[in-house]
Symmetry: C2
DNA sequence: CGTTTGATGACAGTCACTGACATCGCTCGG
DNA sequence: CCGAGCGATGTCAGTGACTGTCATCAAACG
């Protein structure tokens, strides 16, 4: 049992999720997470900025996926269409780990601090989308709006997907929600 | 200097904002806020759940305004129109304290934890909007989407309003943003 | 004037998070 | 094969947010 077991970061993330599920986020101390991972509290904070961040490390991957999808959308695509493409790409990533996503979400739903962190991560994704749209030559105002609204749609679709036991695909909910968006904004 | 100076809550809020502006949020301790208000740290936490909440106490007022505005919108108004009415009503509240709003926002913009709190307050406003729409008989899906998107538009408009020195009205930015939303979602 | 009630003070305790320094295991040039 | 260097970890002390508990004080009430 050397000091150097592999994948300390991953062990911490798994230990944290397990404990958050078993006993709840605020009944879990960082010392306990570290202990289960065979490490010390100090080392936890070398891998994750804080006790919440351990649940959100994957968010940077989503950022890459969104940025690449927007950049790769056909030139002819309107801003909102590029956003739609990106959201479906992100959906693909989440669908690969459906069970993990559901478990993680149930932990987040049970704790306000975690919800706050989730929201700022989503806001950061919105910023990524906006930047990627600007790269396509979309004016800043339209880019910002399309990104903000796109993330709003994603939140809405993701919620519906997570809340249902059926295994209807997330991308389906996203298409439905985009259609709903057009319906709701059209009539006036 | 009796123990019973009036408006302890208000004194704490003012002291907190002053200190957050002077020295920044994380360089300010709760003990310092309490001292400036002539109270103790323990008493601060009796009035505000945490160090951040002192900047967001007014959010419940916005909730009332939004709910009432949606309820009071003409029966003929489509969901998104009712949302528009509500957003302008909220804008009115903020415009009464433009200077306070700008100062407060500069503090929030300088600190991530405060941004997180702001986002969850906005999400809560979105929930309020959705509930109010449901009360009007709007189906839950449309209500949720309209609310979510409405708040996205509000965030966008508010940001533009705060960032400009000119005293163009917030409600103007909201109307512009709603128009932008329709433009961005229309072509497809 | 005594009692009650609600707000405050005082104090100890937990835990998230940080800085500083020691230690360990691996790698690489010799 | 060996020692230097380096990156990851351990150890420890400290700060500050937040909580529970009990004492205390000012005002309202009978």
């Amino acid at each position: 049992m050397g000091r150097w077991q592999p994948d300390a970061r991953g062990r911490l993330a798994r230990a944290a999720l397990e404990l958050y599920v078993e006993r709840g986020f605020d009944r879990t101390s960082v010392a306990e997470i570290a202990e289960r991972a065979g490490l010390t509290e100090r080392t936890f904070f070398r891998h994750y900025a804080d006790k919440r961040e351990v649940l959100f490390a994957g968010s940077s991957e989503l950022q890459d996926v969104l940025a690449r999808a927007v950049a790769g959308a056909p030139e002819s695509a309107a801003p909102m269409d590029a956003v739609a493409v990106a959201l479906e790409a992100a959906a693909g990533v989440l669908e690969e780990r459906q069970e993990h996503a559901r478990q993680r979400q149930s932990v987040i739903d049970a704790n306000t601090e975690l919800q706050e962190r989730e929201l700022i991560k989503l806001a950061s994704l919105s910023g990524t989308l906006a930047d990627a749209l600007c790269e396509r030559g979309v004016d800043e105002a339209s880019a910002g709006l399309a990104a903000e609204v796109g993330i709003a749609v994603f939140k809405f679709a993701f919620r519906r997907w997570v809340d249902r036991a059926e295994d209807k695909e997330l991308s389906l909910f996203i298409r439905e929600s985009l259609a709903g968006l057009r319906a709701v904004t059209a009539d006036a």
